[in-house]
Amino acid sequence: MSRKGGNRRSILEWFRIRGYSLEKTLYLFQRVSGIVTVGYLLWHLAFRDEAYLLPPEIQVPLGILITFHAVNGLRLVLAELGFTVGKPIRAVFPYVFTSLTGIQRLSVYLVVIAFFALVVVWMLIVLGVLGW
């Protein structure tokens, strides 16, 4: 990433997920959901009283994006603090990325499961099925 050349592909690079690990796809969704959430935040601060008047067609996808951002964000915090990275091993052919196997990959699967479970709960809340 040189100063002169810059990060030319930049945002386009986020969408190049073919041939990459599942984590790259999660990275793309984390970025996109974060940007959408920032947009919602600014709107929510500007039109505070209308926050709960959003129709389900907007609340549901918005809730899905925010839920994903939160659940995957927790995984990233655990990875950043070193809990899910795994121990380094000697690089011997065929190379295995320890940071992409074991507990790290397990945490990815847990994120996906927790995400879908929370999305179901969120949809039931928005649609009025669940609530007390």
């Binding site: 100063r3 930049s10 920032v38 601060l45 927790l74 603090l81």
Partner: protein, 111 residues
């Protein structure tokens, strides 16, 4: 100061690692305070939470955490897009002013 620190310190004078650590702390804080905020709005019985004195404290903490997390996220993305020191310094200053202004305005006039 070592060379890495000189490169990573902008106008704010905070190391990149510290900014990102605060980003993660703010994220976890949002999970807790945001959950209280959303539940108090969506569940009728939990709406009583809004009458508690500590609910205002929760909103202030939530606001501070969410503004830092959001604007730092924007900073990270823009830094990747335009990796220039001059731009980074200006952007940091603008985002700090924007964040502080939003925090003061919302906490005083909206909450």
């Amino acid at each position: 100061m070592d060379a890495d620190r000189v490169r990573s310190v902008g106008v704010v004078g905070m190391r990149e690692s510290v900014k990102m650590l605060l980003h993660y702390i703010a994220g976890v804080t949002i999970l807790v305070t945001g959950a209280i905020h959303i539940m108090s709005g969506h569940f009728k019985t939990l709406g009583l939470i809004k009458t508690w004195d500590l609910y205002s404290v929760n909103k202030i903490i939530f606001l501070a955490a969410v503004l830092y997390h959001a604007l730092n996220g924007v900073r990270v993305i823009l830094t990747e897009l335009i990796p220039r020191r001059g731009f980074s310094d200006v952007m940091n200053t603008v985002l700090i002013i924007l964040g502080l202004s939003l925090f003061v305005y919302v906490s005083l006039f909206v909450l």
